[in-house]
């Protein structure tokens, strides 16, 4: 199918571009690291409190990092007007978004997986027991962040003060993801772990709703 093959080609482009410079990955990893450390200075949690607050702080750090990481998404396409050439070349503009959100989700996940061991060490929280569920939540949450973030970065790239604008648009919109992901993560990392399937299902619904909205409006988001 044309949509999938175009998406695959574009995804290849996104990944190749990023791995040449590695700017996004390195800055995102460093950012989350710094935020996690600063949080612990500000709060100095005891071991019990860490279990309760830690996951929430992790998700906050991920959200902040993502809202920075997502800015270049469409700005990059402005310097040489490549957005125009892409729009002309593809039959379905949704493929441009799909490729970008897949790349963004991947970058976020790579960052999170790199951060997890450090998070476990700093906050004294064993993550191995429920790791597979934790990864599931990270995946669904990061997917939601990417879908909404990719859509909104197409909008903010066309406005002034875009560096400040994207977080302002994105963070309120992602409140459901933050709240649910954090709650599910806390329950997973508790001394007696529980898997909250309702929360996980909710994240899936969020992802589906915004993916559908993005699909319906992708042409207009790229309009010149």
């Amino acid at each position: 199918m044309s949509l999938l093959s175009n998406t695959a080609v574009l995804l290849g482009k996104e990944l190749r571009t990023e791995f040449r410079s590695r700017e996004l990955l390195t800055t995102t990893v460093v950012f989350i690291l710094v935020v996690l450390i600063l949080f612990s200075f500000a709060i100095s949690p005891t071991s019990e409190e860490s279990r309760e607050f830690g996951p929430g702080l992790l998700w906050l750090a991920i959200l902040f990092a993502a809202s920075l990481m997502l800015q270049p998404c469409f700005l990059r396409e402005q310097s040489n007007d490549t957005l125009s050439s892409l729009r002309l070349a593809v039959s379905d503009p949704f493929s441009i978004f799909l490729a970008k959100l897949a790349a963004n989700t991947l970058f976020l996940l790579v960052t999170e997986v790199l951060m997890l061991p450090l998070f476990a060490v700093f906050y004294n929280i064993p993550i191995l027991p429920e790791l597979h569920y934790l990864l599931l939540v990270l995946f669904l949450g990061s997917l939601g962040i990417s879908i909404a973030g990719t859509a909104l970065s197409a909008i903010s790239a066309q406005a002034r003060m875009r560096e400040l604008l994207l977080p302002l648009l994105l963070l309120p919109l992602l409140t459901p993801v933050l709240v649910v992901s954090a709650t599910v993560s806390v329950a997973l990392l508790d001394r007696q772990p529980i898997v909250q399937w309702k929360g996980i299902a909710f994240l899936g619904v969020f992802d589906l709703v915004f993916l559908t909205a993005l699909w319906l409006f992708s042409e207009y988001l790229l309009e010149e």
Partner: protein, 233 residues
Amino acid sequence: MSSLHPPPTGLRFENIDKRYGGLLALRRVSFEIAAGECAVLAGRNGSGKTTLLRIAGQIVRPTHGKLSFPGDGRRPQGHSRPGYVGHSTMVYDELTAEENLLLFAKLQKVESPAARAEGLLLEVGLYERRDSLVRTFSRGMRQRIAIARALIHRPSVLLLDEPATGLDPLGITWLANSLRELNRSGCTIVMSLHGESEISALATRAVRLDAGSVIADTKTGASLRDILMFGAA
């Protein structure tokens, strides 16, 4: 260039308006470029040349009016879509010349994309630099990769927005020769230019815009020279 082109196609503007907020960038622009012509669009900065070319390239939609490609029964897509060379290269700096052309060839579902990319690189004289990042290219080379990208899908109409800007004399000669060959093989060319040059000498037609309206046309008797030099200080 030896690339085969589909049957000759013209370009027709019918009552094109383009409004940006309160500003009317183009007002009732109507004219037609015949298939196989090499046309020049002249006018001062801000006269609407770039806007009109972007509409012709289907990057921007007009507020009112109709764009069509007579001589081509199919709807504008695939081959009938013009090739567009703008102020920017419209390729990725962080990819190599070859990677860029491959990318666009694959996206546009060109047959044997790798062969096509290689062929184009040879034609524009960038084959030796095919593995260099576009970021490292000189202005002349950037122009060539931009043209190569525009030609990937073998368009029958090629649009160029001030293609001579920033080129040294050798670059201008190369451009003139390439455009001449393209035109000879049947490709309709529409380009915006400032003043006379080796490139404007190729023109068989010229139209001048001012404040979004057509004010002179060689078809209605104006001379090419006048159109190009009109109002030059």
